[in-house]
């Protein structure tokens, strides 16, 4: 591959280098953390439906397991490259570290295009992957999860193969399973609630009562809906929410100055989070254009849809009233827009902290599986609160003490935790 090609691993390393400089890490630690601990490249032969054999290339990269078993998804992607997997495994190390759960970072994948594969063939790939990796994965050393083009079904096939090979039940080998098959309750709520736990703590630090705040949310999917639910419960008022309209193929913002009501909106929402415009108007909502959510005079902005939503071209629309941006989505802010926000002095809860509720819940799933005892939803959510709050406080304390931008602080704390674990173990 040519040097000019976009290389996600190089990007991840550059990001790490920046943090390592802040931390003034020694060269040995840098060298260790700049690269994965272990990489597995292997072949998965599969008997196809038509009787031919096709060989697929599989990967598993365990970036770091100083804090605990590696954790990370398995992707099925036709243009999978080991550099992508390396980069993603490193990000997983930071993600688990920032919420301080005893897991490391890993990622895996298979070069394949599920569009060209029957379910039976995909099952064979899953089982083949486990056969190749069974010695090096497991509840105590590396825990896979669903990712791009894989889902609960794939996880169950993998789990089954692993248990057959090892002759016992190991539900903690893999996460992302359905409830009743080793899955955890509360997973649906986890990410959205996690965002609001951090928002609550941020407000607390600013000395603002939630009931005196307003928010504008982008997106009306799973994350957004539960975030709105919890925020409203806390007394906050969401005045604007934007969501995708399937029919018009564009987004609209729905505004109600005295606060949107989640229940009434859910009643006029289709399965994809699309809100019925006409009914919304009858209910007293104002229909605005897609970007209106960002220009509201509110205290909190919660981008909880897709990436690259706050950009150079619209970042200036953010009103001065905005005090907090909580990134519910992955990568909602582009780097140049981020610089503007930093300059404006808005308090940002960066994505890999704000939306870490998901990975935390996966950790809980694993914990429950390992002890073969499953908690009630309340218990899951209250433990989630504890974890998220602690994680947030650690980051914000560091930001304050070291006068760091929140995003940098989160990285610094994550990297320092992993580095510390390596040192404590005497690796470096």
């Amino acid at each position: 591959m040519k040097g000019t090609d976009f290389n996600p691993f190089a990007m991840a390393q550059a990001q790490f280098d920046k943090v390592a400089d802040i931390l003034a890490l020694d060269q040995g630690t840098r060298d260790l953390l700049r690269n994965p601990l272990r990489e597995f490249h292997f072949s998965i032969p599969v008997k196809m439906d038509d009787g031919t054999t096709q060989v697929f290339q599989g990967f598993r990269v365990q970036h770091n397991d100083a804090m605990g078993p590696s954790k990370g998804g398995i992707r099925f992607h036709p243009q999978e490259t080991v550099n992508t997997v390396r980069a993603l495994s490193m990000w997983m190390s930071w993600k688990t570290a920032v919420v301080n759960i005893p897991l490391g970072g890993g990622k895996g994948g298979v070069i394949c295009d599920p569009h060209n594969l029957s379910m039976k063939e995909q099952e064979q790939i899953c089982r083949g992957w486990v056969r190749q990796m069974s010695k090096n994965v497991g509840p105590l050393n590396d825990v896979p999860a669903p990712d791009v083009m894989t889902n609960a079904q794939h996880m169950l096939w993998m789990l089954d193969e692993f248990e057959v090979i090892n002759g016992a039940k190991y539900p903690g080998f893999i996460t992302g399973k359905p409830v009743g098959m080793g899955g955890s309750l509360g997973r649906t709520e986890a990410t959205g609630y996690g965002v609001i736990f951090t928002v609550r703590e941020a407000l607390k630090q600013m000395g603002i009562k939630p009931e005196n705040t307003t928010a504008s949310v982008q997106g009306f999917g799973n994350v957004a809906q539960y975030a709105i639910q919890l925020y409203t419960q806390m007394g906050g008022k969401v005045v604007c929410v934007s969501c995708w309209d399937q029919k018009d193929e564009t987004s609209y913002s729905y505004k109600k100055n005295d606060g949107i009501k989640l229940e009434e909106l859910l009643k006029i929402t289709d399965k994809f989070g699309g809100i019925d415009k006409e009914k919304a108007v009858k209910m007293g909502y104002e229909i605005l254009d897609a970007e209106a959510w960002i220009e509201q005079e509110v205290d909190i902005l919660i981008p909880a849809a897709i990436e690259n939503q706050i950009r150079k071209d619209n970042v200036d629309k953010i009103k001065d009233t905005v005090k907090i941006i909580a990134e519910g989505a992955n990568g909602p802010t582009t780097p140049d827009a981020d610089k503007v926000i930093e300059k404006k002095g808005i308090f940002v809860i960066p994505d890999f902290l704000a939306n870490a509720g998901g990975v935390t819940c996966s950790y809980f799933e694993q914990v429950q599986c390992n002890m073969n005892y499953y908690w009630e939803k309340d218990e899951v959510l209250s433990k989630l609160d504890t974890k998220m709050t602690a994680a947030f406080l650690a980051v914000s304390d560091l930001a304050k003490k070291q006068n760091l931008y929140m995003r940098d602080a989160a990285y610094v704390i994550a990297v320092s935790r992993v580095a510390q674990a390596c040192k404590d173990r005497g690796w470096v």
């Binding site: 243009q79 992508t84 295009d113 569009h115 029957s118 889902n151 079904q153 780097p335």
Partner: protein, 1059 residues
Amino acid sequence: MKKTEKPVESLIHELKERAKELNCLYNIEEALNERDTTIDAAFKMIVDAIPGGWQYSEITQAKITYREKVFKTKGFAYTPWILAEPIKVQGVEMGALLVAYTEDKTNKKETPFLPEEEKLLKTIADRLGHFILHQDLKNVFSDLREATTHMNRPTKGEWRIVLDMIRKTDPNLFLSIARKLLHMLCWNGIEEAEELSRQSSIAMKSNDGEYDEDENKPKKKMIINNYDDYIDQILKLADKYIYDEEILARVQKWIQEDKSSGLVKALETKDTSLADIADAIRKYYHLAPEKFELSPSTIKGLRVSLLRRFFTEDLDYIRVAKDYVKLTDFYKLIDKMIYQPTSRGTLGGKSSGLFLAASIINKKSDDNELMKNVKIPKTWYVASDGVLSFMQYNNLEEVLEQKYKDIDEVRLEYPHIVQLFKNSQFPPDMLKGISMALDDFGESPIVVRSSSLLEDQMGASFSGKYKSLFLANQGQKSERLSALTDAIAEVYASTFGPDPIEYRAERGLLDFHEEMGVMIQEVVGTRIGKYYMPSFAGVAFSNNEFRWSPRIKREDGLVRMVPGLGTRAVDRIGDDFPVLIAPGQPNLNVNITTEDIFKYAPKKMDVINLETNEFETISIEDFVASYGNQLPGMNNIFSIYDGHIMRQPMGIALNTNNGELVVTFEGLRKNSNFVKRMDLILKTLQNCLKTPIDLEFASNGVDLYLLQCRPQSFSKENVGDQIPQNVPKKQIIFSAKKYISNGKVPEITQIVYVDPIKYGELETKDEMIQVGRAVGKLNKLLPKRKFILMGPGRWGSRGDIKLGVNVTYSDINNTAMLIEIAKKKGSYLPDLSFGTHFFQDLVEASIRYLPLYPDDEGIEFNEEYLCSSTNVMKNLIPEYSHLSDVVRVIDITQASDGKILKIFVNAEIEEAIAIIDTPKGELPIEEKHYYVYEETQISDHWKWRLNMAQRLANDLDLDFYNVRAIYIFGSVKNAVAGPGSDIDLIIHIDNDIKLDRLECWLKGWSLALSEVNFLRTGYQTDGLLDVQFVTDEDIKKKHKYAAKIGASIDPARPLRIRV
């Protein structure tokens, strides 16, 4: 004595004579009707009764000869005064009846007998003939009874009894059987038989045998004797050499063959009405149920004639159909037909297709379990000329002229025609038939479908052009009847609708004598609550033109299916999606992630509401909520989605509490043989019909029903283009030889090209994201379906952005074609996506997809054109001008002197090519909700242009302007001109003349024609003429346009000029 002065006595005399005649007839009847009488006894009595009927009874003598017997009055003798009449049985002379006067009573007249007496004699002879036949039959039956009582084993000579019967009852048949018997003996190599057939032939009976050398001598008697000998000899030989059983079997077969003769006659006569044919079939069927095997040639002949009369004269159709249809099928058909007694119509295209498909499947089911029990819903047919009878009955003939009117006039008048038709009466015979059909259907919902003659014309797809109407068919018979006649009238009226007329005009089918058959079909399905619907239905194509994976081959076919009525699968519906299955690769899904499966699952279904009698679209979710799991075969239709995993329901009851029901048809795929069956049916029909086909089907959850079958090539959308050959390399923009799918691409005016190399060199993710946004903006700015998107790898990549431009469906939804370029990077060849996650959106919007492999051998990829043509992107979206290296917008008309890009695709030969060419002036493809318009041009665009060009040529003063000749070429000459086309002319002028005056004159014409065109089409142009001047010199050297004159390919055509 003159007649007028006839005295009273004379009248009385005449009356007396009549009374005598009547008395005589009465006596004869008496004799014939006596119970258990024999021919002998009866004839004896009759011969005595005859004289009483004659004027001079006292001198009247009578004689009856019958076979070898003679009955006569005592004093009978041959005198000069004799009256004779042959006794015929089934047209064959069996004897004679004679009356003679013993004295001369001529009174100088030619004959002593009154005309009344001649008539009387004839009447008696006829009556005797019938009596003989009757007696013979009686004997035959008793013989038969006798034979069958002995019949547990075939008795020797049993065939003799049979032949004897035939000899008595049907001499013609007997003769033909004897002849066949002789042939059979010859075939078996019996020398005596050969001898017999050499020295004589039965034909000599007609007096012209070679055997009979003295031609002029009457020798009737001798011949008959000879004939009997001859027959006897044949019979003897048969007895000697052939087993009785075999003779019997053969004789039976020959009898059968003979029985079809009535049917053959009825079918061969052109002007036999449907009613007569139906009668002939019924008669034939009663005489010869199919269990008696006819000879294959007879059967084939009958089949062909029947196919021709009932369905179509189309030879391709008949060639295939004759091997599959059964005569019994026609017998079943005639009872389900509605026609005027005088009807000579057929059943139309749709019916023909379905009938043939059903016959093929039925035949093939003998050796394949999967083909068994494929059903056809109960169907009644209205003959195609019913529409004409209907119009005649209501004096609506003037409507026939409708098709020649201007299209806007047609459009304007159509609603009135519909009302006019609906308010007209059906002829009583049709009404009776429709009413019978309704009794047969009971209160089952029905669909009234058009089945016009044109619908079976190759290359003309009338899908959706004529009406199909669903009727709930509930309530009082009178209400149902009026709803049904209303629907039929509406279907009739649709013949005169603007869309079919325009469509016909485009294809030069206006002058075709269109008739409209109607199919009334029971709707397959079940009643659930107030609704009625099939469990699922859809369309199936034997050629897959929307392949979502390179593993799917074209011949793997495509099924589009939905729960409920199939209307939602047939039509493209913007906000909902049918489930797609490739029967040859049933396990390759279009949608992979559970989210996508969920997103692209059907959400609504079409049903018939039996309470409101309406066709309705309802939400599947609401339906399931109200009616739980009453839909038969639910487990096969739905999967349960809990947000994480898609599961198939288990057991009897669907548990709808644990998640949402999603239509996936997963159960049908996995747990039933539906897909295998569809695959087999599609392949079988394609093989038999020798053309790709397109089926409509439905299922009530138990059985599979075929609703329609027609060649797939009928839908123009799916026909491969003719790939132009020997195109100069300079003109080619790209070519492809892999993974080609058919589909019309309109003329392209802009290319949006995302340079794969430059895109790969972008340094930040942010810039790559901006490329996607720039494309999205361009998508909104550029004219819909007139531009194509070309870019690296997979469009809409959700994983790594470097692998393809990050777009959503709404960023590309206006493009005509989405092109993915797989350019090698080192040793690494990127995989293309085929099924991007919005693949199904592309399908529903008819956006074409094409992968390009520029590095493959023999592939053209004009990078120079794409990279060095002027990039107009900056003018369109200046805010993205920093990306102008990466995103290039090429305005082809600007870059190539008013030309456009044409993309030809042909999946049959796996080739596609895009070339720069002159525009043909077609209109962009516009989608409408229910019709798929392939084109909207009116056929006579070229016609009036040609007329006008001719007028112009006529008016041109050749000498004054120094013009030698005028030629026409291009779209007008080729009859493909569209509403915006120029009239291309070549004018041959003298060398070195001034053109000013001529140009001025032409300009006037050009502007005037342009104005006319504007009035006709709404197209505004600054002149309609495009004139090229050529001189002798040019022609000699074949300069530019002059080369068109007398060219071997596509030459310009000279216009008539004033001499």
